[in-house]
């Protein structure tokens, strides 16, 4: 694909060694991330415009922005996901740039294109890159071509028994057969021995036929107990990409992350350096710009396989911020304005250990979302504790949006200090009026398997004694 420093043209027009910073930014999001972006803008001396739905009139992002525009009713599709409304709000308030946060329009290539057509800077990668990474098969091919390992697989439909024998020999066991049109576990078969292969192939095909109307299946290596490890990256518009280390995100329930930490208990300096260098090289080849996260699954033998890339800021970005001291949101803004990475991030090094808990408004046992009015909101503080939240006492958590209401992040000199700090912070976090996942987090941090750092993505299932339901 070669280097594509697209976006350079526009930044280059009014170029000089130090590009002009934005005067005003619209934050196209809600909740804690909208507030987080507003914080970064305030520190950079940039005016802010909040957009909000009718359900969020009394939200803190509306309160702390310099201007606020109501863009629609509670339903996301008519407000936060409504591109014409967001762009109109940007036009009437005359902003230079839009920060999309995470979720909503953040990985919508079309939105990034419309921003560009409206001469508003989209704070994120180029639309072409967002589009490519959004098509998961294509992303895997491009990333593999760029030099990162992906999970070995058949790369397409297995047509017959002959091909099946050939592919299975190449992939090795255990492997998983998946319906090409599939999802939700239908048409999936894990095969651990060659003797089971043929029967499993027939079953998977007939299940796929019944469920999706086509018998097409493909095969890939099955990871029994994988860990989820991801790399934070930043790329500028001058062709340079850096990584800011990894985050361990294996503590998850139904692919929803609950706890993230850095460094990973299983990553050492050499491996971080080697893999980090590969990630940087691959993304420079692709021409990646702004913040992004490269997600890997780690096999029990320590091999890492690329699974996907998120072309936005992540929920768990504060973990990396505490570890490196780099403000990732400010870096995003400065990179989007055309600054070079060295200026945008400054010098940094990795020190200590940081952990984040996602506090959700949900029943800690049944996981049913718990909307309503918060009566008490007492956030913990003290050395090494950070709380990112837009919640407050008397705030109403509406039922229309994501249930995450706060992020509790701690830093210690090492993992054991960080765990101790998180335990006491969880004890001192008081939210009343609605149910939260705080009791579940207390259980996780009291668990010996977690404390020992030897866990995988099935940890929560074992902790709850369920299949993650």
């Amino acid at each position: 694909m070669g280097n594509r420093y697209l976006g350079f043209d526009r930044a280059g027009k009014n170029s000089g060694p130090l590009p002009a910073m934005f005067q005003k930014i619209l934050v196209a999001n809600r909740g804690e991330i909208a507030l987080r972006v507003i914080c970064a803008c305030k520190e950079l001396g940039i005016s802010t415009v909040a957009v909000y739905s009718e359900a969020d009139r009394n939200s803190l992002h509306v309160r702390f922005a310099d201007e606020a525009v109501c863009i629609g009713p509670a339903r996301s599709s008519e407000s936060y996901l409504n591109i014409p409304q967001v762009i109109s709000a940007a036009e009437i308030t005359n902003v230079d740039a839009i920060h999309p946060g995470y979720g909503f329009l953040s990985e919508n290539a079309n939105f990034a294109k419309v921003c560009e057509a409206s001469e508003i800077t989209f704070i994120g990668p180029r639309p072409e890159i967002i589009e490519m990474m959004g098509e998961k098969d294509r992303a895997r091919r491009e990333i593999r071509t760029a030099g990162l390992p992906t999970i070995p697989g058949s790369d397409g439909v297995i047509e017959n028994e002959e091909q099946l024998a050939k592919e299975s020999a190449r992939i090795g066991y255990p492997l998983i057969l998946k319906a090409s049109a599939g999802g939700g576990g239908r048409g999936m078969r894990v095969v651990r021995k060659q003797e089971e292969l043929l029967a499993a192939f027939e079953t998977a095909r007939s299940e796929a036929q019944q469920a999706f109307g086509t018998p097409d299946v493909y095969a890939e290596r099955f990871l029994e107990r994988p860990r989820h490890i991801e790399f934070q990256v930043l790329g500028d518009q001058h062709g340079k990409v850096i990584h800011l280390g990894e985050r361990e995100c294996s503590i998850q329930r139904r692919h929803q992350k609950l706890v993230e930490e850095s460094p990973s208990p299983v990553m050492d300096v050499k491996r971080r350096k080697d893999l980090g260098a590969k990630v940087v090289k691959a993304l420079e080849k692709i021409g990646y710009t702004n913040a992004g996260t490269v997600e890997f699954l780690m096999d029990e033998d320590g091999t890492l396989y690329f699974i996907e890339m998120n072309t936005r800021i992540q929920v768990e970005h504060p973990v990396t911020e505490l570890l490196t001291g780099v403000d990732l949101i400010k870096s995003q803004i400065r990179i989007a304005a055309g600054e070079k990475l060295d200026d945008a991030t400054g010098e940094f090094q990795f020190s200590g250990h940081a952990i984040e808990c996602r506090i959700n408004a949900e029943d800690p046992d049944t996981f049913v979302p718990s909307a309503g009015r918060i009566t008490t909101f007492q956030a913990p503080g003290g050395t090494g504790v950070r709380v990112d939240s837009a919640a407050y006492a008397d705030a109403v958590i509406p039922p229309y949006y994501d249930s995450m209401i706060a992020k509790l992040i701690v830093k210690g000199r090492d993992r054991s200090e960080a765990i101790g700090r998180m335990k006491r912070a969880l004890e001192m976090f008081v939210i009343e009026g609605i149910k939260t996942s705080i009791p579940l987090h207390r259980r996780i941090f009291a668990d010996s398997e977690f404390a020992g750092g030897k866990f995988d993505t099935h940890f929560i299932e074992r902790l709850l004694g369920t299949n993650g339901k």
Partner: protein, 184 residues
């Protein structure tokens, strides 16, 4: 729409002496149980009118929502182009809606820029006092370079225009106050 910084164009801000005087007058009216009050000096004319007593009983918690008209001397009709909503607290459309009481509010369905006439310099679609029908075009809201004609969802007399030509409007912001026709 919330704008923290004082707007340059608005001639009446919440802190202005006029508004403070009006608030004094409102207290005066309440003290003396007056339903209507008119005041003029030089080119300034203020008329305050409370809703009828029965309306007050039915909505006791609603702040008295008088119609306040600050008229300019050059305005021969006596009606002003500079109309301030009830309590002069225009920070949210909710309070504006309350202030307008029995009027039917035509609200903006989209975010954009308000235009009262089909083209610059031409006559406005509707004027205060005009009778309009359901489906009649009241104004244009420009969004993303598209001119969207906003039609009335009620028939009746146009009593209030809440926004000025060229003003940005947000979703749900009241544009017109219409006194619905009696007969359907």
């Amino acid at each position: 729409m919330k704008r923290k910084k004082p707007s340059k164009s608005g001639s009446t801000s919440i802190d202005s002496p006029e508004v403070q005087q009006i608030e004094q007058l409102l207290r005066f009216m309440t003290e003396h149980n007056l339903e209507e009050f008119e005041y003029s000096r030089g080119d300034l004319r203020i008329r305050l009118r409370k809703p009828s007593a029965t309306a007050m009983v039915s909505a006791p918690r609603v702040v008295a929502a008088p119609e306040i008209i600050v008229a300019g001397g050059l305005d021969s009709t006596g009606l002003s182009s500079n109309t301030v909503a009830g309590t002069a607290n225009a920070s949210s459309s909710a309070s504006e809606a309350r202030a307008s009481d029995d009027l039917h509010l035509v609200k903006s369905p989209i975010v954009g820029t308000f235009y009262g006439s089909p083209s610059p310099g031409s006559e406005p679609f509707v004027k205060i006092g005009a009778y309009i029908e359901v489906g009649q075009t009241l104004c244009i809201v420009e969004a993303m370079k598209l001119m969207n004609e906003i039609e009335s969802d009620a028939s009746g007399e146009v009593i209030r225009v809440f926004v000025e030509n060229g003003q940005p409007v947000e979703y749900g912001q009241p544009l017109f106050g219409i006194r619905p026709s009696r007969k359907k």
